[in-house]
Symmetry: C2
Subunit: 160 residues, 2 copies
């Protein structure tokens, strides 16, 4: 065995760099989540529930499948989440008449009305980031690029 040298090996350096990167993203995601938690508490929504409502407000009624495509979430995540939104009276779920495999998610009147109260959320979030709109746009572009590359890499690794 070699004695432990004060100067770390190049690979050990990589381990540290790795920790810094993955940790930074992990931390940023949780920090965002935490801010949303505080701001959304008044609306009675969690962050993922808010994402679902945003899609419905923007796109109108959708089957669970389409909702999952927009959010990249599967039924294992959406089914219980939608049940909670239904229990809260914000959405209604109904088997499609045309295709009974499909379940249509519709906003209730209460769910549609909640949009008014949600209008102030984005301003508060953007304000909390301390970034201006251009910086946010730039960061978003990089993150999207990163996600695209990572998704491709994940499916390649998966086929090994």
């Amino acid at each position: 065995m070699t004695a432990t040298t004060p100067t770390p090996s190049p690979e050990a350096e990589w381990l540290r760099l790795d920790r810094q990167i993955c940790f930074s993203l992990h931390a940023a995601s949780r920090a965002f989540n935490s801010v949303y938690r505080v701001i959304l508490k008044d609306l009675g929504l969690t962050y993922p529930q808010y994402l679902v409502m945003l899609v419905l407000w923007e796109q109108g009624d959708l089957p669970v499948k389409k909702l999952g495509e927009h959010l990249r979430l599967d039924s294992g995540t959406l089914s219980p989440l939608l049940k909670r939104l239904e229990a809260a009276g914000l959405v209604h779920r109904e088997r499609s008449a045309r295709d009974e495999r499909s379940v249509e998610v519709r906003l209730t009147q209460q769910g549609a009305a909640l949009k008014e109260r949600a209008l102030e959320v984005p301003r508060r979030i953007v304000s909390a980031t301390g970034f201006d709109v251009d910086e946010i746009r730039d960061l978003k572009a990089r993150l999207d690029q990163l996600t695209g590359t990572l998704d491709a890499a994940a499916s390649e690794e998966g086929t090994n």
Copy 2:
């Protein structure tokens, strides 16, 4: 003032912008997680477990409290996670003799040995991002700045 036009109101535009930002970060975080899941499967670690191991490899044995400070995680998350690492034979938990409130987390020989096999992980992760080291460093800096501002905002909002 203008009547409601087919062009969405400024606030509705913000709702969409907001969805794009928060969603991008959320998606990037999950995409990263997904790549780590594939790469770490061989080591029998999840992504948060890997983070814990990285800290232990870098810092040596630590009490749960210190571990939580490094990772910004509380005992509600760490306790069950550490139990699983202990069940896998990678760490050992022991009440400190000096202060019996504290639990010392120590790497087992097996846990320390796992570092060797983990050395190749960072290279594969960095490769999967498609970014070079400078781009990663830049992204990390932005994310850290974002996290810092968000954390401050969360505690301010919390005191309202």
